[in-house]
């Protein structure tokens, strides 16, 4: 391990791949980014992600390592992408599900329990809808399409060569960073898909300033406001490898929760409904698997945007100095 520039091929143009390419190129390596599709992002599950940078809320069901990676990724996002919106996250529940709010509060930290007055102040459109909530002020969100495009562009500016529509395994690299998500499944037998479905709506009748998480004992969902009056509602979490279109049941759940957040969404346009698979390992924690001269960065589950920047730096540190983060590295022999 040394500081010599390496010839590195990054495979896969989802959020993991573009971040790896950017960070490795910025550290002075010769990087080629390859993708089997001629259009980048087209098949990436990150294209339909919620893209919330919510290290505290995710602690409700994720291991502490996710929070750690998320917290170190947040400033990296802010440095690399000018449109990170750090307005926090608001967690609400209907009056009959208040016990869910209490449970969520017990399992997370860094929030403020807010009443109707404060709710009116920060999210006026929801003031009539909810009487209380949990506010996580340090959390952020972004528009995933803009972010992916921007990070790819920055990577290219940093010298990354791209070969899109290039299905072959590249030859002659010192290292291959494999970020292909589910496409790497043949080589990573532990990887499974966890299906997620989402809806994009558009309306100018509701204004939200931050992601809203609506707790429910069976269908906890969230809504993220995007620029230009778009709203993304996600996401189902189904233990299934089925990549087919959104089911009616899931569509009802997603649209029902939009309506529950605000009835004006009843008049919104349905812009798109999409489904894809989250690549996941059995513990739902991302892994960097070192196998000969290939490093697989995979299994980001529902934490792709949250943890990709930190994972890119962990890979770069490994290539440079051999450092290993015990919680995410698996070095095979």
């Amino acid at each position: 391990m040394n500081d010599k520039p390496l010839n590195i091929t990054v495979r896969g143009t989802g959020i993991v791949g573009v971040w790896q390419a950017l960070v490795l190129a910025t550290r002075g390596h010769q990087v080629t980014l390859v993708s089997k599709t001629s259009e980048p992002f087209k098949e990436a599950s990150s294209w339909i992600a919620g893209a919330m940078l919510a290290p505290f809320c995710e602690t409700e069901s994720a291991e502490p390592v996710i929070r750690r990676l998320g917290l170190s990724s947040l400033p990296l996002w802010q440095q690399a992408f000018p449109h990170v919106v750090q307005n926090g996250t608001l967690v609400v529940a209907s009056s009959r599900d208040q016990s869910e709010l209490q449970r969520f509060g017990r399992q997370t930290e860094e929030y403020e329990a807010i009443d109707a007055v404060k709710l009116q102040e920060i999210e006026p459109d929801l003031a009539d809808r909810f009487r209380s909530g949990l506010f996580f002020p340090r959390e952020a969100h972004l528009q995933p399409h803009w972010a992916l495009t921007h990070i790819l562009q920055k990577a290219m500016e940093a010298g990354v060569q791209t070969q899109f529509g290039h299905p072959e395994r590249p030859e002659g690299s010192d290292y291959i960073i494999d970020c292909r998500g589910m496409a790497a499944r043949d080589e990573l037998p532990d990887l499974r898909g966890v299906r997620g479905e989402m809806v994009i709506l558009r309306t100018n009748e509701v204004t939200l300033s931050r992601p809203i998480r609506l707790l429910h004992p069976r269908f906890p969902l969230y809504m993220v406001p995007w620029p230009e009056n778009y709203f993304m509602i996600g996401a189902t979490v189904i233990e299934s490898d089925d990549q087919g279109p959104v089911s009616v049941r899931s569509g009802l759940e997603l649209l029902g929760s939009a309506y529950a957040i605000h009835p004006a969404f009843g008049e919104a346009e349905i812009v798109r409904m999409s489904a894809n698979l989250r690549p996941s390992f059995p513990d739902n924690i991302p892994k960097i698997i070192v196998r000969n001269n290939t490093l697989y960065v995979n299994g980001l589950y529902r934490h792709g945007f949250l943890t990709s920047p930190a994972l890119a730096h962990l890979v770069a540190d490994y290539l440079q100095a051999g450092t290993i983060d015990e919680e995410v590295f698996v070095v095979e022999h």
């Binding site: 069901s61 994720a62 291991e63 449970r103 017990r106 399992q107 990887l191 499974r192 898909g193 299906r195 004992p217 069976r218 189904i238 233990e239 299934s240 490898d241 089925d242 087919g244 089911s247 996941s280 390992f281 059995p282 513990d283 739902n284 924690i285």
Partner: protein, 259 residues
């Protein structure tokens, strides 16, 4: 020893498999609880397309009996079709039959349940019906061919414990030889212990463990409570009395203060 349709089990805890933070934590929780039966939902994980394989592989690794369920089915036909898919997929005649009447309370539709149970039992299934505490429905289910009863404690996920202990006692008294599993509504280990103390044979639960801050520890807590409840039942729990009954003899003790 407790047995369901001729299969003996050591553990009186049946575990659901949904809503865990990860399959890994689910596996650890099942191992910690030493449960030997887990129930798996097919409806959501679209069995028709064989698509939940990654998850099912992890469930199979547990090496426990798999009890597929028809959670979310709202009609007899849907439940029967789901059961048939489950049999094919998991190669087991066992089916936890749920026919849901109300989306909100997830209360069983007793009429549909009895009908579906009859169809499935005639088709060779070994049916575990998720029912209420209703005695009449229980009789019909047994008539239909069920050899297990799974009355609810309280609505699914409500964590309220045993809403109607009197009716559960009635079921126990009427059907002393039918395995009685309290399914749904258990929130705390003490609820489970109570069910076992009353003579129920086992409990089935999911949310109380899956949504605990530490599911593995909670699984262990339930295992302990269930074991305690069962031992108490076997040992014979005292009936409550209206009056105090001191355990040391009262006769001869002075009723005036000596000091």
């Amino acid at each position: 020893m407790l047995s369901f349709y001729g299969r003996k089990v050591d553990s009186r805890l049946l575990m659901g498999t949904s809503m865990y933070p990860s399959p890994d934590i689910l596996q650890k929780a099942v191992r910690a609880s030493r449960a030997q039966i887990v129930t798996v939902s097919l409806r959501r994980e679209s069995a028709s397309r064989q698509s939940g394989q990654g998850f099912w592989k992890l469930i199979r690794e547990l090496d426990v009996h798999i009890l597929p369920n028809t959670a979310g089915c709202k009609s007899v036909r849907e439940a029967v079709t789901t059961a048939q898919m489950a049999r094919e997929l998991f190669e087991t005649p066992w089916i936890k039959l749920e026919v849901i009447a109300n989306d909100d309370t997830l209360q069983p539709d007793l009429f549909g349940l009895v009908e579906a149970a009859r169809i499935l039992a005639a088709d060779g299934f070994e049916v575990f019906p998720y029912t209420t505490e209703d005695l009449g429905a229980a009789e019909r289910l047994l008539e239909a061919g069920c050899k297990v009863l799974m009355p609810w404690g309280a609505p699914i996920g409500s964590a309220r414990g045993l809403n109607n202990p009197y009716a559960l006692k009635t079921l126990r008294a009427w059907f002393p030889d039918i395995p009685l599993v309290v399914d749904a509504g258990i929130g705390a280990p003490s609820h489970a212990a109570k069910a076992l103390e009353m003579g129920c044979d086992a409990v089935l639960l999911n949310t109380a463990i899956a949504k605990a801050a530490d599911p593995v520890k909670m699984a262990r807590a339930f295992a302990g409570a269930i074991e305690a409840g069962r031992q108490a039942f076997e040992a014979g729990v005292l009936e409550p009395r209206d009056m105090a009954s001191p355990s040391t003899p009262v006769a001869g003790t002075p009723f005036f203060r000596l000091d």
